[in-house]
Amino acid sequence: MMKQPTSPSRSEFLSRRKFLSTGATFLTAVSVSTGAPHAAAEIKMPDSMLYPGTADEPYGKPSKHESQVVRLVKGLTEKRTTTWSYSPIHRQRGIITPSGLHFGTHHSGIPDIAPDAHRLYVHGMTQKSLSFSVADLLRYPLSGNIRFLECSGNSWQQGAFSKPAAKTCAELYGLVSGSEWIGVPVRLLLNEAGIDPRASWVIAEGADSGSLARSIPVSIMNNDAIVALYQNGERLRPAQGYPMRLLLPGIEGNMNVKWLRRLEVTDRPAFTKDESRAYTETLADGSIEGFSLYMGVKSVITHPSAGQVLPDRGYYEVSGLAWSGFGRIRSVEVSDDGGASWHAANLHDPVLDKALTRFSLPWRWTGQEVRLQSRATDARGNVQPGRADWRKVYHAGSVNHYNAVQTWFIDRQGAISNVF
């Protein structure tokens, strides 16, 4: 699956040269003045320039005019204890998700934990069994980076349904977010406890009402795993695990245990509920595959995307997000003819290891029907599969780890929808 030769035929993606020449046409059109040269001035000074502003507040909020930029929350019912908060990725730019808009998948609600009462225990196959307070951990060397976090069930509808669901980009792809996560490297704590060289797994457990637990290979813990204390410059939000969570770069969201209370070092996995069925896949032969830890290379065009309508023909910047649990994004290609031709998109700085990566390419809509797609390749050479190829691996109805190429269909009215 290498890059196909760029077809000059029907694509309306604009190369730099093409963009500059056609851009000049747009600019010419815009700069034509329609106002009469000697009419009285109509531009009035806005009130904001006539009256003093208000005082600042201790903790700032988004503008009241941005109240539509919120998550879609599938909440608790009398019976449902699992909830989802879909991040509005179609309204975000750059690669950082504001902490209050970070996605959430919760199995037992969000606990309220006072930091002074919380402890992290490290025990099991260790020389010592240790207890750390939050204040203790804040004194360790803190490190981390900008990373993506994705629920392994993100885009579950694409695996669950045989026909494309009439859903928006946020509903289909909003269980992914990007943040700067800072905390204590897990290996420092394992070293302090004196880990047995025969140990190979660590059971991480949260202090939530469901005591969520996952088994994590020691090699991942000793690599880039941190006990995260800060997200985007401030202490974690309660919904993100306050006062501390596990952050395993590139690894499926559920294993990044929130409200982290216990790290039990062992030599085998526990096969907890979330690794017995909930976060497993059904392979094409009907067997179950678990412990699929890495999130595969994936991308989605967020601008424009399903649920939106193009207001007019002409210039648009096609933009989206790409990420891979295996490392950096090497390239993203886009297509507006359903994959007949592919065009290299621009990757925006910074392009970071296991982080959301922003891509874009100027494009022109001529008013015709369009099948818009993006396809990412990561630093290991993993290429995002087409949907048919993804489906060959998994049994019908298996929903987790969906990472196939997404197609947005634009009709002649400019309305955009999810199609296969």
Binding site: S129, Y140, S276, R277, T282, S398
Partner: protein, 183 residues
């Protein structure tokens, strides 16, 4: 060739460089407080597939039927069919191979059922069931799947010996391929 003086100078700078490199790995503070064996035992609640971590006690499906009716059936249904519209998974039934496999058809190890009920079920009466009640309700879930008989006694020795059908068709991607990736 180094003169003795130059060699000394070289060694001096080499050791200075090494010291500089070492400062990147300064010993972090060792602030962890050692906890008692009793505390370790109290927090070590993980149950493993081989049954380690299971407590004393025993139960059977016969006893578990009543507990299931009181504690579980209102969400999971009388037959364990679940209610996926409310994300309540089925506990019993044949594999559907999609997202709604039943517990009996998809969990490879029986002790994990005990572990999960003790951690998280039922959501509005958490961590209240006794070990005997947990063994009994685990037995009833297995009984609904035709895996144990109504009167079969389950305890820390017998529960790990229960053969789950999924043990024959469960594989680990980590074991198969991902563990061989460079970090």
């Amino acid at each position: 060739m180094f003169s003795s003086f130059r060699l000394t100078l070289f060694l001096f700078f080499a050791s200075a460089l090494a010291a500089t490199a070492n400062t990147g790995e300064v010993q972090p503070p060792r602030l962890g407080q050692q906890i008692s064996e009793a505390d370790v035992e109290a927090i070590s609640t993980t149950v493993f597939p081989d049954g380690s971590g299971l407590p004393q006690g025993s139960g059977s499906a016969e006893l578990g039927r009543e507990i299931y009716g009181e504690q579980c059936a209102s969400c999971h249904g009388d037959t364990g069919a679940g209610d996926m519209k409310n994300t309540v998974p089925p506990l019993a039934g044949k594999p559907k191979k999609g997202a709604d496999w039943s517990t009996g058809a998809s969990w490879p190890y029986a002790p994990a059922i005990f572990d999960y009920v003790r951690r998280a079920m039922p959501p509005r009466n958490l961590k209240q069931l006794s070990p005997d009640e947990l063994y009994s309700v685990t037995a009833y879930i297995l009984h609904m799947n035709g895996i144990v008989t109504l009167t079969q006694q389950l305890d820390r020795m017998t529960l790990p010996k229960v053969k789950m059908p999924a043990a024959g068709y469960f594989s680990s991607k980590w074991k198969k391929s991902e563990s061989r990736l460079d970090p």
